[in-house]
């Protein structure tokens, strides 16, 4: 029942001739497109150029839309206030020469990174949100600055999220603006143990095919809760502590039944197991779709824990879209909430422009200001013939910035790892909206 074109044979010489002419035609067409690309991405006036990228298609489209809106709005604010100062004292605007769609796919992220590095004048690449993509992107960068034997790319990247632990140390050209999940959950459970002395036992689940959710749940959230005196009532758990990394497999094996996949549609087995354990507190370490699916199933099974704790990535509008009622009461630590004048102003601007500010996109906003700070500290010339030096200077300056202004408070950076230490608050779904219930800074 298969059909394909039947025998076709040309004289070999003729075929070769045709192929040669054909490829000539294709290369001309290709060059034409190439010229078109470079024309689209270069710019005449002197300005500090940056190029952003994120997911603008696919199920994670909201990341890209929000981050782009936040970035462009922040850059507009900076330019309205005069722009940035170059090495020779002139004030120039920051120009976002493009925002590309990387669809949170590794291949596309790498392609866009290489495109930014080799065909544009951007001094920094500002993308993306998905941890897996960052892991791949950072891997093609030069590992250590100045290592001549390493042919990796020499292009600074300032990612707006990519929250999976430990990514920025893959390369010295890689920077992130993410809160430290270990610190956040540690502080959260310390506070919860004081606020809710009646809560003793806990259990929970995660989506195992999503790297960020899985490792944060297993290595960070569960451990932090145990550290602060909560008792894990899932299936038997081996001795934890420093053995956690090697013991991950045992822990995973032990907690098997409370795991699900990020696209799952049936959570009945997992919910029932939790019901049997009857914990006071339940962790739902999962992105909005499967978190909502699981929460809805828990509600159906009449599982009513006293406390619900979620994953940082779910402190967003998507969770409210997916299960406003069932998520009622869930507590999540997050790097953004409109609690300061700065934050409220930014929130108003970004919402007005059609996006949402949450911990992902707020980082994109802050990054624009971080770029300003680094540019001014680096003293770059913003001319296309000094591009490589400008990028190197920018990277060095960014690496030495130890403090910057975040939207909800000052952010410190660790020069060795390229990571940020951001202030955070705890938010909870109250009456269908995210409400800040505690700011640990008092």
């Amino acid at each position: 029942m298969l059909m394909y074109s039947s025998m076709f044979r040309l004289n070999v010489k003729e075929e070769i001739k045709i192929m040669k002419r054909f490829f000539k035609g294709v290369s001309v067409g290709f060059l034409g497109c190439a010229l078109m690309f470079s024309a689209l991405t270069s710019s005449a006036d002197r300005s500090v150029k940056v190029l952003g990228w994120g997911a603008q298609s696919g199920p994670l489209k909201s990341f890209g839309v929000n981050s782009e809106t936040a970035l462009r709005s922040a850059v507009a604010e900076i330019n309205a206030a005069g722009g940035v100062k170059l090495g020779d004292g002139t004030m120039v605007p920051i120009e976002v020469i493009g925002y590309e769609d990387s669809a949170c796919k590794k291949d596309q992220n790498i392609a866009i990174l290489r495109k930014t590095a080799s065909t544009t004048d951007a001094i920094v690449g500002m993308g993306t949100t998905c941890s897996g993509s960052c892991q791949a992107m950072f891997g093609v960068l030069q590992k250590k600055v100045g290592d001549a034997s390493d042919s990796g790319l020499q292009m600074p990247i300032l990612a707006d999220t990519c929250i999976r632990p430990g990514l920025a140390k893959i390369s010295e050209w890689a920077f992130r603006n993410v809160p430290n999940e270990i610190a956040m959950y540690d502080a959260l459970f310390a506070w919860l143990s004081q606020q809710h002395p009646g809560i003793k036992t806990f259990s929970g689940g995660t989506e195992t095919d999503q790297g960020h959710s899985f490792i944060t749940h297993t290595a960070v959230i569960v451990q932090a809760a145990i550290k602060h005196g909560f008792e894990w009532v899932g299936p038997d758990v081996p001795e934890l502590g420093p053995k956690v990394k090697q013991g991950m497999k045992e822990l995973q094996a032990a907690a098997k039944s409370q795991h699900w996949l990020m696209g799952d549609t049936n959570y009945s087995v997992q919910a029932r197991k939790i019901k049997k354990q009857n914990p006071d507190m339940v962790l739902v370490s999962s992105h909005p779709f499967s978190a909502c699916g699981f929460l809805k199933e828990m509600k159906r099974q009449r599982v009513k824990p006293k406390l619900l704790v979620g994953l940082t990535s779910s402190a967003s509008q998507e969770t409210l879209n997916g299960c406003m009622k069932e998520a009622e009461g869930i507590i999540i630590p997050t790097g953004f909430a409109p609690i300061t004048a700065e934050a409220q102003k930014a929130n108003a601007i970004v919402t007005g422009a059609g996006g949402f500010l949450d911990l992902h996109s707020a980082a994109a906003w802050e990054n624009a200001f971080l770029v300003k700070a680094a540019v001014e500290a680096a003293g770059i010339t913003a001319k296309s013939d000094t591009l490589a030096e400008d990028r190197a200077k920018f990277r060095d300056a960014l690496a030495t910035i130890t403090a910057s202004d975040g939207l909800i408070g000052p952010v410190t950076r660790d020069t060795a790892s390229g990571e940020a230490s951001k202030p955070y608050v705890y938010v909870q779904v109250v009456d269908g909206k995210w409400k800040v219930i505690h700011d640990p800074r008092g």
Partner: protein, 298 residues
Amino acid sequence: MEDFWYEFVEVTQTISDGLLFGSTYALIGVGFTLIFGAMGKLNMAYAAAALGGAYAGLAGFVLIKAPLVLVFGISAVAAAVLGYAIYFACFRFIPINNHLAALMASVGGLFFIDEVVVHVTRGSPLTFPSMFGDVFFEIGPYGIRGDLIFVFVIGLISTGILLYILFKTRLGLATRAVAQQDVAARLCGIGVHSTNSVTFAIAGVLGGIAGAMTAAAVGVLSPVMTVPLTIKGIIVAVIGGLGSIPGAIIAGLFVGGFENVFLYFRGIDERDMYVVALLFLFLVFRPNGLFGTAITRD
């Protein structure tokens, strides 16, 4: 002894949950098998059209506060329209014995519908209203979801109606005639294209109901559901026997039940591997599935 009794209850509960949830797989499988039976082609865009219909139903709920029955109705109609559009775009103009091109075109259709949905919703998961969502029967130590029983019943009813149409109406006769031998059917004056497009539309109605049911059963609608549902639907159609509608129903329940049992005993990491292994077993030992072909002659 108490432990054994507890385990027994848990396992049977798991099986029953899985069976009931399997009704959603069954309906999607029926759609795939119907199109395969009628045209000998695989419509990869089927689950996408089904979910597209569900989104349309959700739009009705959100925009005009449609009552649930209407939501399901809108889903069914929208998916039928989408089904017809897929037929027109991906199957109508491609030579009838070129299976590969039609397959690839329907893959294009899958991408297209998914991306339209992403554009409209920004990829965000959306809460879907459920029928009888709060109904939960507690019979002794067992708990049975009312809404899944509803899905099961609707599934049976829709399939019954479908079988009635196929075997007791002229339209069904035409569909089966075209499926068996399209040249002869044409000679008898049956319009092949009009019959096939109606088949796609009917499959679409089923798909829309399946999509809405699945969304109601999970409670959330999201574009991440499309590919897993497509794969499950195809697996169910194959295990049931391509072209056999009762086969797809039974296979759907079977896959749903087994999936849950594997999850209960072996955990999430191995669950899908066992489902896949199950499929392999069928393909090796019973390549015609549970019931072989009911509509077409090979």
